[in-house]
Symmetry: C2
Subunit: 263 residues, 2 copies
């Protein structure tokens, strides 16, 4: 039976991970290691300077094991694989995230980072997000059902090395979905405004109030697929090298003068 | 005069950023926005759920402005560009980091993330790290001197879009450096062991004690360059799409059956 390690960034008590685990555990052997509380937008942060606690808990769902971890999403996957689990999972799944992870979101996303951590450990890994999932009680069931069908097929095909699949499920009823689209990351820029406020003591503070800039997204991007009612699947690389620059600009960027001048 | 925004992840009081700013301010107009305390390994985390405080301070160095920010490295660059500075910098520089940022380190690195944030805002951006910089009082002067020479030349050539330069300076005297090498990210894996300990109340906790696995790194990687006494410059992309998979595996990964089966 396929062994699945599940993590997330909304915390082990979130509706998204609970629905996912409920569906996966009907078919697969499921292990959960997720943050004890909400840890979204933590990027690929690691806990280096303080201890991590791990508590086994009963999710009320027939999983093999479930652990609440006082760390980031990346910590959860790292500690599960290296210190907690006595089995090696066949795949790591992170989600279902409350809200989309499209375009530059992947750089900030704890959900995506947990999957990247799986890939760093050489395991097939998938991140899954529901674009309307901001509502706490959003319905995650079609995302979970989709994944139950998709995971075994993906493992059969074989996952590309050092690469995760970043899946976004559109916020529409299943009957309105038009298919699955393999996409590239879009730009999905934010306006990045900060609200400047004054606290009750008269001191200034700022609060990030970024809104999504509705740019025209070309066909082939994740944002475009979602806007067209398709499930978006993006292969995301852990190797961030820009190989094009490496091919084109070696001579210009290896400015030897700068070392010689200093000698 | 070139305007430089400087950030880091070791905090505004770290030796690495102080040395860098001291050198840069002799030649350029320098603005600093850095975390009020050490924030390394924070990845690309953002502060969404609480306010951010920004305090102007006197670094004792003739910079234009210096701000201490109660946020992550990415927060610092984002808030400086969107709410604090009344100028637009020509370039964003993050560092000098205390310790290397090689291979998969870039996924975890706050230093690299601050530079990525600059690139997200469309600015040329550079991260710089000193491989022996773990020692608090390490000598950062040759890294700073190198950058003073390198930055204007890089701006003259023109930086590739959506790409930062991730620079690592080897831990050797300047006279032993053999040049500058444009590199790809190496693998630089960690062993990722966790130490399991018992606290004074008898409760178990874990502490990440990962050590670098000394794998053979092929020529052309950042790790190889550093081991051969060269300054390593890696073009790092903010677009993490794996385009090879997109070209090769569209049909196999767009498994339409999974949507049809659910309908």
């Amino acid at each position: 039976m396929m062994k699945v390690l599940v993590a997330n960034d909304d915390g082990i008590h979130a509706n998204g991970i609970r629905t996912l685990v409920e569906y996966l555990s009907r078919q697969f052997e499921v292990y959960v290691a997720a943050p004890d509380r909400e840890r979204s937008a933590t990027g690929h942060a690691l806990t280096l300077h303080k201890p991590i606690r791990v508590d086994e808990l009963d999710m009320g769902i027939p999983v093999k094991k479930a652990y609440s971890v006082t760390g980031t999403p990346s910590d959860c996957v790292k500690i599960a694989l290296n210190a907690i689990l006595d089995i090696k999972p066949d795949i790591v799944v992170s989600g279902i995230n409350h809200g989309p992870n499209l375009g530059v979101d992947v750089l900030y996303s704890g959900t995506v980072s947990a999957a990247l951590e799986g890939a760093i450990h050489g395991l097939p890994s998938v991140a899954i997000s529901l674009t309307n999932g901001y509502e706490r009680m959003a319905d995650f069931s079609h995302g979970a059902e989709f994944l139950c069908c998709y995971l075994p097929k993906v493992l059969e095909i074989g996952m590309p090395a050092k690469t995760i699949l970043n899946i976004n499920i559109p916020a529409i009823p299943l009957s309105e979905m038009t298919g699955i689209k393999l996409t590239q990351l879009g730009t999905r820029m934010y306006t990045d405004t900060y609200e400047r406020r004054v606290d009750p003591r008269g001191l200034v503070y700022y609060w990030l109030a970024g809104e999504i800039a509705e740019t025209g997204e070309p066909e082939g991007t994740d944002v475009h697929a979602i806007r067209n009612n398709m499930i978006s699947v993006t292969p995301v690389h852990i190797d961030m090298t820009n190989y094009q620059v490496l091919k084109d600009q070696v001579d210009s960027l290896e400015i030897m003068g700068c070392v010689r001048e200093l000698l």
